[in-house]
Structures are given as C-alpha cells and as structure tokens.
Symmetry: C2
Subunit: 184 residues, 2 copies
C-alpha cells in the first residue's frame, strides 16, 4: 500500500516511516499547500485540511497539525503556535508566564487520514513550561517544554528520544495501530 503524507517537512516523513514500514505501507512525501483555518482545536484545522485536499489527491493520504497549549493562558498559543513562535518567540511566552505559578502545558498533535472519509488520531504529552530555555535540538517551543517524568526539555533530547514520547509519535502510533487492524 502506498500512503501520501502531505507535509513540507522531510523529517516528519522519516519519522512516520518507522511506524508504517513494519506494516508493509510505503509512506511518500507530498508537498502541497492547503489552507489551515482559524479554529479552537487542532481537530477542526486538520479535518478542514483533508476535506479540502480530498478532491485533489488520488488514493489515501494524511496530514498532521500540532500545537502547544498552556493552561494558565487559556490554551494559548494552541493552533497558532507556529505564528506565535514567529512573532513573539520563546521570549514572548516566557514574558507572559513571568510570575505565573501554574506552569502546566501540553503539546498535542492530530493526524488526519483520508481514505474516502476522514479519520482523526490524537497524541498528547503533558508537561510544564520552564523558567528559561534549555537545549538546542528540536524546533519551536521545545527549549521551554519539559515533559512530565523527565528532567530535561524536548530540546535537550535526541530526535530518537523525543519521537518515542512526543505528541506526534503518539498520534502516528495510534494511526498505525488503527491501520494495522483495518488492513487485515
């Protein structure tokens, strides 16, 4: 089976292959722009994306969307994490969290798969916002997110370490598990 992953990021495709190769599923990158809507949840964004793309792509495909949700900020930056990273940056988030006691936050990732209809898979990792940035691997807000049960931030982990526990890793695994059942 051939499965298209709609993304501009080849690193994500490599990550996905680890989950799908054991199933005999070939993952290929498809670099195609699609509108991401303004919404409160990643599910809404991902669902609109696959439905919008469904008339353009032959065969099964999927895409993903991720965000950082900070409890004390009402879920901000949420689905707008990429934009907020570009404008306010890590410094802006730390300023907003200055003096805030409740540091709880979670990264969430949604995979939307299209095979004639939409199927959504969610992954989540809980943790907290640190007081300052640590580490230099990964991207985005990784340097200020410390997952529960670990003494380091996402940016202090190797890609392999992070992928195992990350929100996207969980979402991809949920998708792969479902596909395994449904390919039988």
């Amino acid at each position: 089976m051939r499965l298209m992953f709609v993304t501009s990021n080849p690193g994500k495709v490599e990550e996905a292959k680890k989950y799908f190769e054991p199933l005999g599923v070939d993952v290929h990158q498809l670099h195609l722009e699609y509108p991401e809507i303004q919404a409160d949840t990643l599910e809404e964004v991902a669902l609109f994306g696959v439905e919008w793309l469904s008339s353009m792509i032959d065969g099964p495909f999927f895409l993903d969307d991720s965000g950082l949700f900070i409890d004390a900020l009402g879920g901000f930056p949420g689905v707008y994490s990429a934009y907020v990273y570009r404008t306010l940056g890590i410094g802006g988030i730390l300023k907003l969290m200055d003096g805030v006691e409740n540091r709880r936050a979670h990264f969430e990732s949604v995979v939307a798969y299209w095979d004639g209809e939409a199927h959504l898979f969610t992954g989540r990792v809980d943790g907290e916002i640190t007081n300052g940035p640590k580490g230099s691997s990964g991207f985005g807000f990784d340097p200020i997110f410390k997952p529960h049960g670990f003494d380091k931030t996402f940016a202090e982990m190797t890609t392999e370490e992070k992928n195992v526990i990350s929100h996207r890793g969980h979402a991809l695994k949920a998708f792969a598990d479902w596909l395994k059942e449904n390919l039988k």
Copy 2:
C-alpha cells in the same frame, strides 16, 4: 441594488448602511459562517472567505476582517486578534508590552467584495498602545489603543466618533467610493 453583508454583527450592518444608503444601495445582513484561514495578512483571509462563499451566495456580497498589528511584537496579534483577545486578553498584551518603548500599532480592516470576482478595500488607523486600559465603549482592544492625533482611546469615544476615524470606516468608505464610480 441589493448588497449582502456577511457578518454575525448587526452593529456592523448599521454602520455600513450609512455609506451605502446615499448611493441607493440596500445593505442586508447575511449571517453565514465561513472558514477564516491562518495567514499573515487580512487580505489573504478575506480573499479566501469571499471565494469560498461565492458558490453559495446569489448576487453581490461583501465581508470584512480586522486586526490590531503591534510593531514591537512583529505584527502580533494581527489576523488572530479575536483569538488573542479571548485567550490572553488586554492584560496579556500589556504584559508583552511592559517596558517596551516602541508603542506604535495600527488597526487594519479589509473589506472583500464579490461581484463575480473579488475586490479588496483596506482601511487603516495608526496609533499607539497605552500603558493601561481606558474607557469602556467599543470592544476588543479598544481600551488600549489611542489613535494618533487624539487624546483618548477608541474605548473613550462614542460609536459615532470612532466610526468616522476607524479602520473599518475607512475601508467601507473606500468601498462605497469605488461602488459609486462603478454603478454609473
């Protein structure tokens, strides 16, 4: 001529009528949801909106989108102003601007009109972010925005005062002026 204004806000329709009644154009509210995309500019959001709606609405219609762009924050909150108001609120913006010397900001509004093709009209008002909220009329970030040349915030003005100088007022006027020429 009958012109539909796609909005959930009856107050906006009343404001628009002042510009179009003198032209013999009847403005009617059409309450219809449409996807607002994630983008860097209001123009992109508004353009996607009218094109998306164009297959559903008979006859000419328009919609508008507005945002507050703060220079020192890289344009934040921009097209996401409504979301940021709901999550971070005025307090969050003031916190981000704490100790920031450059207070320059502008409100921008884009009207997108569809008559078989799209026409965009932009209005803008320049000003600055105050150090604290003042006034209670208007909505959103009005209490912390002081337009250039005035000693009060948008929230300290009456609706009539604000409409004359506001970004949306300018965009509606540009649209009405264009329509007047093109109805001849």
